[in-house]
């Protein structure tokens, strides 16, 4: 345990996590999603829905390549993105009509510094002993603050069909709470890997201790760069980014925004001390303004 704590200090540890759990702190767990070997089968989406009993959220034909899930949300905790590009697979390979498919299984990043957790007013969002970020559904009162706080647009409120309503003409009724990936907290408790990683047939989704995954990702990136793979880059691996690194990070083959990811995400609460100071000055100015209004007399 102490050995892990030392490692975690170097690699960027969630605030107060080890202090909270003391001896019960477990090694930080997460995902390394290597999109270079994703085949877009969506087994992860299905396994996630099955294990976590996530309701259907509309069968929509987007016409966007093979992606009809479109985005992460309350009812999609894994989302496989499909990108079609007229781009060669390898650097310097410009002969012929090149086309490549980028496929990437997106998921909650389980940030080292998580904005959703910071802004949650009820403490429904919490950091588990595994260093992951989970919503306690018996506490969430559906205030929705975490939804715009997340720099990745992961969290959302859940809408459910009204019980007994005609399935064809479902009228959305809110379950009222926010939902997101729990990194299969229940499975972790039982010593199992998360459902998506278990179901992934190519090991594109790799589950394990974050430190070990980071080392594995570095090796994989070096190999792909050696092969001259066009655009290979790690996303969220470094603890010194705007959210202190992701617990669930990625190897991408193009810029993050191509996959619908923010290029330089920032935990909004990083600027909160400055924001509270500004608010204090503004509050002082308001008091001064009221006093000034009486400077010309009380009537």
């Amino acid at each position: 345990m102490s050995e892990f704590a030392t490692l975690a200090d170097i690699t960027g540890e969630p605030d107060g996590w080890a202090d909270t759990y003391g001896d019960e702190t477990k090694p930080r767990l997460g995902f390394f999603t290597d999109t270079s070997i994703c085949i877009g089968c969506k087994a992860c989406e299905v396994a996630c829905k099955e294990w976590n009993v996530i309701p259907e959220d509309g069968l929509v034909w987007t016409g966007e390549s093979y992606d009809n899930t479109s985005t992460l949300g309350a009812n999609s905790w894994r989302h496989v993105a499909f990108v079609e590009q007229r781009k060669p697979l390898h650097d310097g390979n410009h002969d012929g009509d090149t086309l490549r498919w980028l496929m990437s299984s997106d998921v909650c990043k389980h940030c080292t510094h998580a904005a959703c957790l910071d802004v949650c007013p009820t403490g429904a969002l919490f950091r588990t002993e595994f260093g992951t970020v989970v919503v306690q559904e018996d506490i969430c009162n559906g205030c929705g603050y975490c939804v715009p706080a997340c720099p990745f647009g992961v969290l959302d409120k859940r809408h459910l069909p009204r019980p007994g309503s005609d399935p064809a003409g479902v009228r959305p009724q809110e379950d009222g709470r926010v939902w997101k990936c729990t990194l299969c907290y229940d499975r972790l408790k039982g010593g199992h890997e998360p459902a998506c990683a278990k179901a992934c047939p190519t090991k594109s989704i790799q589950f394990g201790e974050v430190d070990e995954l980071r080392a594995r990702a570095d090796e994989r990136l070096a190999k792909l760069q050696q092969q001259g793979r066009n655009g290979a880059q790690l996303y969220g691996r470094d603890p010194d980014d705007g959210v202190g690194g992701f617990g669930a990070f990625f190897l991408l083959l193009d810029e993050p925004e191509v996959y619908g990811l923010p290029p330089d995400p920032l935990v909004t609460t990083k600027n909160l001390p400055e924001m509270w100071r500004t608010a204090a000055v503004a509050a002082g100015a308001l008091v001064a303004g009221v006093l000034a209004a009486f400077a010309g007399g009380s009537r």
């Binding site: 990108v83 191509v258 619908g260 995400p265 000034a292 209004a293 009380s298 009537r299």
Partner: protein, 305 residues
């Protein structure tokens, strides 16, 4: 052209032009609360200052307006919750990293003290305890008026987060303007001098802060000139200027002008909150407001090879 995937209307690459951020899930209750909370907070300050300078009619008006705001605000907030029956969960922790949690405590303290003061005023009893309750209410007045700006700024929505330096001044001055306007509309013109000065001063400072915010936001501030946010912004400015002009001139003699000016200014302040609220949705909807500033921050170009 190697990219087939570009956001509409820009040369920036995105995932089928889809948003990166989620739009807020907040309902119309929230912009109304931004208005009523500010009105309540600044009114309790105005009321206490009037009490201290022995302007009884104005003190009473300040107290009653702040009571009205403090009574409506929690109803709006609870009604916006996905699980209203769990509103008390707001008070199971105290968290400075959550402006919404801090704000719940501020609103709770403000509401409780204002209610005590209003009760004693109506009963005409215990004047010292009443002033004490008014003082507590006024102490929470300024925080109540500005914390909502911190709440919005503490999100990933570019038009809110990047406005973190100006928004507390926009909301604080707006609260002053609405408190002054409401009191000036209720109290007889000969007793409403400080309310009119507060309204006009608040409107002036608030408008300048808003213009400074729009200017500094640059491209990120585009929503303030487009769509619904743009309409509300224009309406806010027109109503605010017209209302403040009336309060600064004929409202000193005419009760009718005071009611019209106060009403216009209140409408302007409500429209301003709606503009800020709607701008957040428009900002979240277009990925360019996320990608362009972030790539610039990293020193990267917009269309990498």
């Amino acid at each position: 052209m190697s990219e087939s995937i570009t956001a509409l209307g820009t040369d920036m690459r995105s995932y089928y032009g889809r948003p990166i951020l989620k739009e807020p899930v907040w309902q119309p209750e929230i912009p109304w609360y931004l208005f009523t909370g500010g009105l309540a907070g600044a009114s309790s300050l105005l009321g206490l200052a009037a009490r201290a300078t022995r302007n009884r009619p104005l003190a009473k008006a300040g107290l009653y307006i702040s009571m009205a705001g403090d009574a409506v605000s929690p109803v709006l907030l609870v009604s916006d919750l996905g699980r209203p029956e769990r509103f008390l969960n707001m008070f199971r922790v105290f968290k400075v990293t959550s402006p919404m949690n801090v704000g719940s405590w501020i609103l709770g303290a403000s509401g409780a003290s204002t209610a005590v003061a209003t009760g004693l005023e109506l009963l005409g009893r215990a004047p010292r305890s009443k002033v004490l309750a008014e003082t507590v209410s006024a102490a929470f007045g300024a925080p109540l008026s500005v914390y909502t700006a911190t709440l919005l700024s503490d999100t990933a929505i570019p038009v809110w987060h990047e406005a973190r330096r100006e928004l507390p001044f926009v909301f604080g001055a707006g609260a002053a303007a609405s408190a002054g306007a409401a009191a000036a509309a209720i109290v007889a013109p000969e007793d409403a001098g400080p309310a009119r000065r507060l309204a006009v001063g608040g409107a002036a400072v608030g408008t300048v802060a808003m213009l400074a915010m729009e200017a500094r936001l640059g491209m990120v501030g585009e929503p303030y000139h487009q769509g619904e946010a743009g309409i509300y912004n224009l309406a806010a400015k027109l109503c605010t200027v017209a209302g403040a002009a009336l309060l600064a001139t004929s409202a000193k003699r005419s009760r009718l002008a005071a009611i019209a000016g106060g009403g216009l200014l209140l409408a302007g302040e409500a429209a301003l909150r709606w503009s800020v609220f709607k701008a957040g949705f428009q900002s979240a909807r277009d990925p360019k407001y996320v990608v362009e500033p972030q790539r610039r921050r990293k020193g990267w170009g917009l269309t990498p090879a």
